[in-house]
Amino acid sequence: MATIVPDQRGRYGRYGGKYVPETAMYALEELEQSLNEAMADEQFMKNYHDELKKYSGRPTPITHAENLSKRLGGAQIYLKREDLNHTGAHKLNNAIGQALLAVRMGKEKIVAETGAGQHGVAAATVAARFGLECKVFMGEEDIRRQELNVFRMKLLGAEVVPVSSGSKTLKDATNEAIRYWVANVEDTFYLIGSVVGPHPYPKMVRDFQRVIGDESREQMEALPDQVIACVGGGSNAMGMFYPFLNDDVRLIGVEAAGKGIHTGEHAATLSEGRLGVIHGSITYLLQNETGQIQEPHSISAGLDYPGIGPEHAYLNETGRVTYTGITDTEALDALKVLSEEEGIIPAIESAHALAEALKQAPNMNGNEVILVCLSGRGDKDVHTIMEHLGGEGNE
């Protein structure tokens, strides 16, 4: 790319930055310095890649979805199987990287926020692995929606802290995690789950997730024509897209259109949001006229976020990545199709990316290739899927 982002101030064009209270500045400076040192340290990077391989089971395979491709009668669909990563989603890649950094910095405790619970589980997992104490902040509403993951976190030895402020979901859990971190920065590391937050978080998470795209490039026989990934905060998409940015590959990010953009109940930040500040970063944001942050809606807790990573806002503005929306219903349909055709139950989040591939493939040639980031497995969602597919007469 022509310009290197982020710049020294943590800016991706006009997005990003550090919009945090003065009390957090020291913590961010300390983090940035330690991160730069760690990334330049071969031994640190070797440990990180060793953990990915021997603990998390990487590289994850790429599966040719032959039945699905045949059924659609167009492009060949390939799936990057992050669902086969340890703990069932791409989230662990980043959690391993940050936990190793926490240990390197001499921190004894980590805090994390979680929406769907996948990042919370990843944080609890690495805390157990590396001997760290772990607190996971989770909105009360999400605790109700994701009771299985709540139990998993507790089983892993983490403390799940219910968040009852604001709308009781991911954005509020993130606020609480930041508040806690700033007050306890001496011994606590904030392990953020997506490419959001103040600099250097979006960059750090991207760099710990780029393994998805790096592996994919090596594994594919030739460059795919399209790469599709879902975007909430946007960490799996950023990790997948980043290594392809300089290639002649069409990149598509899929936001959650919820019940439909026109209903106002969605999480389509880039198409419906405006420039704003959330969790320390200037980016696109779902908000009302006066600037109060609005609660998004998506069937998938992992995409239910009113902001978006600043680098996505930048890639949208430069036009390098195309962003589109998929509704709850389209995602559920795609989930059903993949389950039936390939024997893979995807996470509802990942089903959004898949649904976009289902739209694109029939319009493409049989020798063209779409690579979909299957960011996680659907086991955690079975409850929600049952509510929506199993009991159609219930609602």
């Binding site: 101030r9 930055g17 550090k18 919009y19 945090v20 209270p21 003065e22 009390t23 500045m25 020291y26 913590a27 400076e29 402020s165 604001g166 954005k171 509020d172 606020n175 930041i178 508040r179 700033v182 007050a183 306890n184 920065v185 405006r274 420039l275 704003g276 500040v277 959330i278 969790h279 320390g280 200037i282 944001l285 908000q287 006229e289 006066t290 600037g291 109060q292 942050i293």
Partner: protein, 288 residues
Amino acid sequence: MCIRLWNILGVKVMNKRFEKHVNGRNDLFIPFVVAGDPTEETTIQLALMLQEEGANAIELGIPYSDPLADGPVIQRASLRALEHGMSLEKAMGLVKKMREKGLEIPVVIFTYYNLLLQLGEEHFFALVRENDIDGLLVPDLPFEESEEWRESCNSNEIAFISLVAPTTSEKRLQAISKEATGFLYCVSSLGVTGTRTDFHSSVFTFLDRVKKHSMIPVAVGFGVSAPEQVEKLKEHCDGVIVGSAIIRQVEDQVEVLKKEASQKEGIDQIRSYVRNLISPYGKVKIHS
């Protein structure tokens, strides 16, 4: 003497009300109230009462859905105010009403950056002029991100209140205090706003350090809630900022304050709390 020198040099344009009520003093009482909590009229009456009790400036908090620097007390106050649609623009309009009823001390708008960004710079300063506002404090706009707003506050002759924390490095402290106007806001401890039972003794060392650098009054906030604290802090800085402790009083009186008939009673309850809290300053009431 430093302050005079500052003015002679003409580096910073001073705001008239800050000059009269804040500059050069070492007994500053700067209360924080949330605009519209629980009603607009309460906020106006609170401001007038606080002036009577010796407040030197008022921080008018704008309610926000995601107040990152605030603890539960101010979060709840924000929700109460948002319930009936308080906004940055409406809150600024309240200041005009306060002025009409005799408020003379400076008013600082305390707002998270997103609200300011949506209102826009031009609109904000038009409202500043229209409503006689004297300062701006944006808790999530640290030094590195605030240059533009600092400059426009200077050219509009209002103070841009800067914050420093115990973790602020010597180098940053120098840079921040060099640019600071109005008063320098020292955050007593890390974390969010809210009452604390006691301060760590390191807060005094911190305040002494800030005093050395600052050419404007140094006030301390976050956790000030008891006269004993005010007494101890007196020797190390020029004043206290009191937020959550007052808001908690408002919360306790919320139903009383909402009703027109009992509002005065509620305000007077808070008055006695405030009077006791800042008694170590031995302030003479300017109105009765």
